[in-house]
Symmetry: C2
């Protein structure tokens, strides 16, 4: 088996290094042709907060995980699966020290969101995205361009390892 280090579309996980025995894309998820999300859902920045995430190490990334009402309610109510129409957004930033805050504190302790790095989405549509576990994955670089095919192929296999309907994030109360 070939071990592949790949970038994963992790909603809790930002763009996370994921070491996996990745199957050929589409295998193990019902077959069919993978369809990616290529247009940002409108209004996502104003959605409710689901959780936060920090990926340490080389990724050095900070994320806000937001959801539309269908997704938010499923998270809030602790559902183990998400209804069609659920959309989860992960807004990624650099994890950078705040010079202003640290001057006040007298030590380097305060980290805040730096420049945006990318924005990712998971859209639940069990028919349209049947080939990728019912979720459509989207990745938008900071200039708005979509993630390339190599990156996009890593999303579904990695999320298939998450225990709750392919979702890593948990609701932060």
């Amino acid at each position: 088996m070939k071990r592949v280090v790949f970038l994963m579309l992790g909603v809790v996980a930002l763009v996370s290094i994921c070491v996996s025995m990745a199957p050929a894309f589409g295998q193990g998820s019902g077959g069919g042709t993978a369809i990616y999300v290529t247009k940002m859902p409108p209004g996502y920045r104003d959605w409710k907060l689901i959780s936060l995430a920090h990926e340490a190490g080389n990724l050095n990334s900070f994320a806000a995980v937001l959801g539309n009402d269908l997704a938010y309610n499923a998270f809030h109510d602790g559902k183990l699966t998400y209804p069609d129409g659920s959309i989860i957004a992960a807004l990624h930033y650099g994890h950078v020290p705040s010079d202003e805050n640290n001057k006040v504190f007298g030590q380097v302790q305060s980290f805040v969101p730096g420049a945006p790095t990318n924005t990712q989405f998971m859209i639940k549509d069990s028919k349209k995205y049947a080939a990728t576990g019912g979720w459509g994955y989207g990745h938008f670089n900071k200039d708005g361009s979509v993630g390339n095919e190599t990156l996009m192929k890593t999303c579904a296999p990695c999320h298939a390892m998450a225990s709750r309907d392919g979702v890593f994030a948990r609701y932060a109360p």
Copy 2:
């Protein structure tokens, strides 16, 4: 001058260790009697996201900074002062590794919100809270009890050192 290490009510800063030459409370902010926020504003968990914060070191804290519409709009539009009625909420959690995520990634890199630790508020009312720079400060422990007097006295002097109307947080786009 006596240097005092005090816990600060930092909206971007969680409950942050702040080293400061703290004035007697009320000095330098127009005098008067300090009034604290003793009741949580309803519905704050569903407010829009302003920013995130991570305090490293002993605090080991993760925060979501949310705002009501008045506060959110002021942040979003880059205002340097906040209108009366603005409310900023800082939801604090432990900054803990996610065992589930790290198993998938094959290394300890993923940090997520742990148990809630406290929730803090800043409410802008330039008359009511004149003694503390126009902001009323509130701190609620995880059991819902309010912060003690010693803690509450640290909020205003530390926030007075923030460059934008006593607010440390910046809008995360």
